[in-house]
Symmetry: C2
Subunit: 172 residues, 2 copies
């Protein structure tokens, strides 16, 4: 609520010929901090909605990808969830600890295991679907479907820019 930032840029000295105008420092009307704030808010929302069912935000992609009872390697889970392999490893470790996931050695490849949801996890699915649905409604309350679509479109373009940054780094 406090708006101390808005009137802030007082000491904007004109002594340095920087290419950066002072209001670039106005972090709150730039997409980045808004996205960060939204992401943190989403984590809290997800936590609130999922904790009652013994699930958490980082586990959602795993639930989603294995929802039909199928099995998948850790590597594929990571790739499809678009997180790094060690992050997925940690999430799966927690899920295994909580009895949500099972790993069986892949008969075709001695390095790899096939991960699948336990019955306990599969039993949670209906509740998770409801929770996600309600959370989504809460999130976009007051938005028209067109606005949601616009938001998604813009975010997708943003994400493409962000991905490109990483790969171009490699190319250089």
């Amino acid at each position: 609520m406090t708006d101390s930032r808005t009137g802030g840029g007082a000491a904007a000295a004109a002594d340095e010929p920087s290419a950066v105008p002072d209001n670039e420092w106005e972090l709150l009307n730039t997409p980045a901090p808004l996205i960060n704030m939204a992401s943190r808010g989403l984590m809290r929302l997800a936590e609130r909605r999922l904790k009652p069912f013994g699930a958490s935000a980082g586990q959602l992609p795993v639930f989603y990808l294995l929802r039909d009872g199928g099995a998948m390697s850790q590597r594929d889970l990571a790739r499809l969830a678009r997180i790094e392999q060690p992050s997925m490893a940690q999430t799966l470790a927690r899920m295994e600890r909580d009895g949500l996931v099972r790993r069986v050695p892949d008969p075709k490849d001695g390095r790899s295991s096939l991960v699948s949801l336990t019955r306990k996890a599969l039993a949670k699915m209906p509740a998770l679907r409801e929770a996600l649905h309600a959370g989504r409604a809460e999130l976009v309350e007051g938005f028209s479907e067109a606005e949601v679509a616009t938001l998604c479109d813009l975010l997708q373009r943003l994400n493409r820019n962000l991905e490109r940054g990483v790969t171009s780094e490699i190319a250089e």
Copy 2:
């Protein structure tokens, strides 16, 4: 690149009268995962741009709020950065460890300290401004200013929904 999700919802059984249509599971065209992805991408981008100057993403609000050489309590820093007090405490601890920040006991209040940037930190400011400016450009490349504004507007509304969720929780 893999699009295994798109054709996924095969086993959509019609045996359960859930209020949730199966395509609600299509996480990738819903804002939440896009925001999360964007946020993670932003963290990586920030890390890439800031690490050369010995700064990191979570420190930006502190740099911003104390940019004019002023001092502020940890509590105010947390409130203005919109993160919880323990998160700010940890960030400040790291910044202190790195010689970026100094704490002097508040003469008016024995519980509190006044935090300010060190000269070492203030010296980094021009580089940080440049880094942020370049990062911002990379982020919204291909966006018109109107699109950026639309994005910010939608995100602000989203954030309002997310905040309201938290407070309504308290009210209930």
